[in-house]
């Protein structure tokens, strides 16, 4: 498409005169690439690529990084605060009123293709791989065949070689030679690219392939590419389901302790998460101001900070309000709801009604491409891992430690626990603030995927109660199964029916389920359940 002419020229150059004469990029040429309307700029860029101007790669990269300025007829590159002349590379002063060079998407596409054409012969395998990936996005035609063949012949890396071979096949698929077309169709059957599927479909459409035998081969190739893509789609549904499920588990886990184990209907649970998220924001700002070098690790510091702050607020709540209301669920509900409003308004007064920006550290931005159509974002992977760790920690603490034993004892039979010398009031406070702290951890996770604002908690409180109730009150395992189950179910339905209907369908499902099984997935058994 766009870079077609460009590549044509690039391949002519690279075949004919690769490594021989290099022309200097002159100031007027640089100016022509940097200013004017898109058509003229792309033409100038093509001409420069064809001449094989040295410094072109540097200049194109600078253009892509928005580091180029134009002052009069001079083109300057401003990199890391240093200004240099684009044509000569010599140091230069940045004049007042230099205009930024701006690129639209079309220009950016052309620049990227130019860079890929220049880099496909690089000595560095990683650079070549990136260039090949870039070239794969452009739609190629027969005139680019020599470039691809030359790169194919020169390539030693088997992975890249097969990619180039497939790229060659995407050109040969519309060749006039029937045997070449047949071979290309067979080659393309091994592809996993969405673009190849649409190319094959286009060939099968009106005005495409006429030969019956080739059509059959195309059909077969399309089938196998589609099948491979379908795997990516299926895995994507599973991954997104688990990812949503892990978020649900994280937000519900704290509630599983305060509501599930202690029986406190804590409407302020969402606000405890919000406090955790705001703590993350504050820690981020502290790192930005005082430790800019370690900025990327602010999240790690935010985890204990959010736990402690939320746990502290939780302890205050328990001592100040909730301990007077044990065994009176209605009053607890009203009081904690009131507290949730107070906390929201407090945050609004402190930080403002606007959402606050929490940046992902660079290691949580982006994703890993498992398949051509399946990218797993790092922040989602991190949250799944984080949920597992927190879950493991909570399970161990409840099941294996003395503190966990006390919590279980007090929640199952308060009087007996008191009789054998457990300070039940203290355990109540600690358990509640532990649950609050876990909610704070949920807040750290939420700050990495969504908005941090005063009403962050509101959007998760219903979900957390749903998960806890569905899983069975008082059961950690139930919370986990319910969270993951709801996540996957939601994502499966979303794929079929859309986000709005999926949400409704999940709610209807839960209503019916609770009607049939009021005690949830994992019902508590034994005498303590009735107490």
């Amino acid at each position: 498409m766009l870079p077609r002419t460009l590549l044509r020229i690039a391949c002519a150059l690279l075949l004919g005169s690769a490594g021989t004469a290099c022309f200097a990029l002159t100031a007027p040429q640089a100016l022509a690439i940097a200013s004017g309307d898109s058509d003229q700029r792309i033409a100038a860029l093509n001409a420069s690529v064809a001449r094989g101007d040295d410094r072109l790669a540097v200049f194109v990269q600078a253009l892509l990084d928005d580091e180029v300025k134009v002052a009069g007829d001079k083109v300057l590159i401003v990199h890391d605060g240093k200004t240099s002349d684009a044509a000569t590379g010599a140091q230069a002063a940045l004049p007042e009123g230099a205009d930024d060079v701006t690129n639209n998407n079309r220009m950016r596409g052309a620049l990227e293709a130019a860079l890929a054409g220049l880099r496909v012969f690089s000595a560095d395998a990683a650079v070549r791989a990136a260039a090949v990936a870039e070239l794969a996005k452009a739609s190629l035609d027969e005139s680019q065949l020599p470039l691809i063949e030359k790169a194919f012949a020169a390539e030693a890396n088997p992975g890249l070689k097969s990619q180039l071979e497939r790229m060659r096949a995407t050109i040969l698929i519309s060749s006039s030679d029937r045997t070449k077309r047949l071979a290309a169709a067979a080659e393309l059957a091994g592809s996993n690219q969405g673009a190849v599927a649409s190319l094959l479909q286009e060939r099968l459409g009106a005005g495409g392939e006429a030969d019956v035998e080739v059509r059959a081969a195309l059909q077969q190739a399309l089938g196998s590419v589609r099948a491979r893509l379908a795997w990516g789609e299926r895995l994507a549904v599973v991954f997104t389901g688990i990812s949503l499920g892990s978020v649900l588990v994280l937000v519900a886990l704290g509630l599983a302790i305060t509501y599930g184990l202690m029986g406190v209907i804590n409407m302020a649970h969402g606000e405890l998460m919000m406090i955790g998220a705001y703590t993350t924001y504050v820690v981020q700002n502290l790192f930005r101001s005082y430790l800019p070098g370690l900025f990327d690790s602010y999240v790690l510091a935010a985890i204990p900070a959010a736990f402690l702050v939320s746990a502290g607020v939780g302890a205050l709540l328990e001592r100040g309000v909730i301990r007077f209301l044990y065994g009176r669920p209605l009053e607890t509900l009203l009081a904690t709801w009131g507290i949730s409003l107070v906390l929201q308004q407090a945050v609004r007064s402190l930080f403002g009604a606007q959402n606050v920006p929490v940046e992902n550290p660079s290691w949580l931005s982006g994703g890993v491409a498992v398949m051509s159509n399946l990218v797993l974002p790092y922040n989602r992977i991190a949250i799944i891992a984080f949920a597992l760790i927190v879950l493991g920690g909570v399970a161990l603490l409840i099941a294996r430690t003395r503190f966990g034993l006390f919590i279980r004892g007090v929640t199952q039979n308060r009087r007996m626990a008191s009789c054998v010398g457990v300070d039940t009031a203290r355990i109540d406070m600690l358990a509640f603030s532990f649950g609050a702290g876990i909610a704070g951890l949920g807040g750290v996770a939420l700050s990495q995927i969504g908005n941090v604002g005063p009403d962050l908690g509101q959007s998760y409180i219903v979900d957390s109660f749903l998960v806890v109730v569905l899983g069975g009150v008082g059961q950690l395992a139930g919370t986990v199964v319910a969270g993951l189950g709801l996540g996957v179910l939601n994502k499966l339905l979303e794929g079929v029916a859309g986000a709005v209907l999926a949400k409704i369908a999940v709610l209807v499902f839960i209503v019916i389920f609770i009607q049939k099984k009021p005690s949830g997935l994992f019902a508590m058994k034994g005498r303590s359940a009735e107490a």
Binding site: N105, R108, E233, G352, G366, Y378, V452, G498
Partner: protein, 421 residues
């Protein structure tokens, strides 16, 4: 001890409030109402409009007010609660006797207050881009109608520079504005020869925060045919998770460009914009537009937000399109009052026709003689790595609004002016 202190404090408070209200009573003022949500889900967008309105009123007062009287703002908080908007509007008009109200953001809140203004013959200035399909004698619309934002944006996407898109994903929040806009766009695309097979329409609930499935669907749709573009009418803070997911999944603007109608400088505040470079937004104003009027507007806002300590803005002041529309609206109303020599709504409505104002967008915005909408320029901007927008396309001059879109068949024959009562 405690009680005494409390008493003292109460006395002081009463004295202070008494003193404060005295000059207001003594001087002859014109009251103006400000009806924006300061709490609840829309607070994120609307709070700043309240602040910009107060700034503009301060500016007018500093120059001597209107008709020799100072303007006195009456701020109420309808709390993102649509029925409460109507109640607060009623209170502003009948109790506070305001001459005019500046307010509302969502179309549903505007629809809620509309009967109040029509019944009491009040005056509302609405500063946000919307779906059209409405024309009231008592409302002036200073935001964009669909032909001043949505249609030019899609035309740009279909152009060579915009990437020659031939397949479209219409993605929005599930309520009246996105649904109506997408209805108009679908019909517009049909008129350009694009069939339903090449259009995918998707909606998410308000406050949706998990866009993984949607992005996967967009990728799949894009791999099934020709060049694809996304038109987003996602509203409010859902945009932050949407753009984060877009960046993380590596869907780049050179592959599938996303053009948004409700995403501005403010919405991108909390987003890492580096992976989003090249995605687009269509508005009638961008902060990055360079001209002396805009420079003065930004300077005024920066100074005001630092002076008043407006959260967020005091550290990183930003301006956006609805702020500009609010600013234009208040100034135009003041000019019309001066011209009418009265604040009587009917006289002001008559005087509004043809009012002009040198807008920060760099053009002179004109109030249409008949249809209560502004003639505004249209800009299309690409997101830059610093969260600002880089204008890549603009109309040669201001465009007249078409509140009744010609792409909705039922609109045929509707008059381009409010019905006379």
């Amino acid at each position: 001890m405690k009680r005494r202190f409390a008493l003292k404090a109460a006395c002081a408070a009463i004295a202070a409030s008494g003193l404060m209200s005295l000059p207001a009573l003594a001087a002859d003022t014109i009251k103006v109402g400000i009806l924006h949500s300061l709490s609840g889900t829309m607070a994120i967008s609307e709070t700043v409009l309240k602040d910009v309105a107060l700034m503009t009123i301060d500016q007018i007062n500093a120059k001597g007010g209107v008709l020799g009287k100072k303007l006195e703002p009456v701020v109420v908080d309808p709390a993102s609660n649509w029925p409460l908007f109507a109640e607060k509007a009623k209170q502003l008009i009948s109790q506070d006797k305001v001459a005019v109200v500046f307010g509302c953001w969502t179309s549903v809140s505007r629809k809620s207050v509309l009967p109040v203004f029509e019944e009491a013959n009040g005056l509302l200035f609405y500063p946000v881009q919307y779906e059209g399909e409405e024309l009231s004698k008592n409302v002036f619309y200073t935001g964009a109608a669909p032909n001043q934002q949505a249609i030019p944006a899609v035309e740009y996407l279909m152009s060579k520079d915009g990437g020659s898109a031939r397949r479209f994903v219409l993605l929005g929040t599930d309520y009246v504005y996105p649904r109506t806009t997408n209805k108009i766009l679908r019909s517009f695309l049909h008129s350009k020869g694009i069939t339903d097979a090449d259009i995918m329409e998707e909606y998410t609930p308000f406050g949706h925060s998990d866009y993984q499935t949607i992005i996967a669907k967009i990728k799949k749709f894009a791999s099934e045919g020709k060049k694809t573009a996304v038109v987003s009418t996602i509203n409010g803070d859902s945009n932050v998770p949407f753009y984060k997911e877009l960046g993380n999944q590596g869907l780049k603007a050179t592959d599938v460009p996303v053009v948004a109608f409700s995403v501005g400088e403010e919405e991108l505040r909390g987003v890492d914009t580096k992976p989003l470079v090249g995605h687009l937004a269509a508005w009638n104003y961008f902060e990055s537009i360079k001209n002396p009027t805009n420079a003065a507007f930004i300077k005024q806002w920066t100074e005001y937000s630092i002076k008043k300590g407006i959260p967020g803005h005091k550290d990183k002041p930003l301006t956006n399109d609805p702020m500009e529309a609010t600013y234009i609206g208040i100034h135009m109303w003041a000019q019309a009052v001066e011209k009418a020599k009265s604040t009587d709504p009917d006289k002001v409505i008559a005087a509004m026709a043809g009012q002009t104002f040198a807008a920060p967008g760099g053009f002179t915005s004109t109030m249409d003689a008949k249809n209560h909408h502004l003639h505004k320029p249209v800009f299309i901007g690409e997101i830059k790595s610093d969260g600002q927008f880089n204008v890549v396309w603009k109309t040669p001059g201001p465009v007249k609004a078409q509140p009744w879109s010609p792409f909705i068949p039922e609109n045929k024959g509707k008059k381009d002016e409010p019905e006379k009562k």
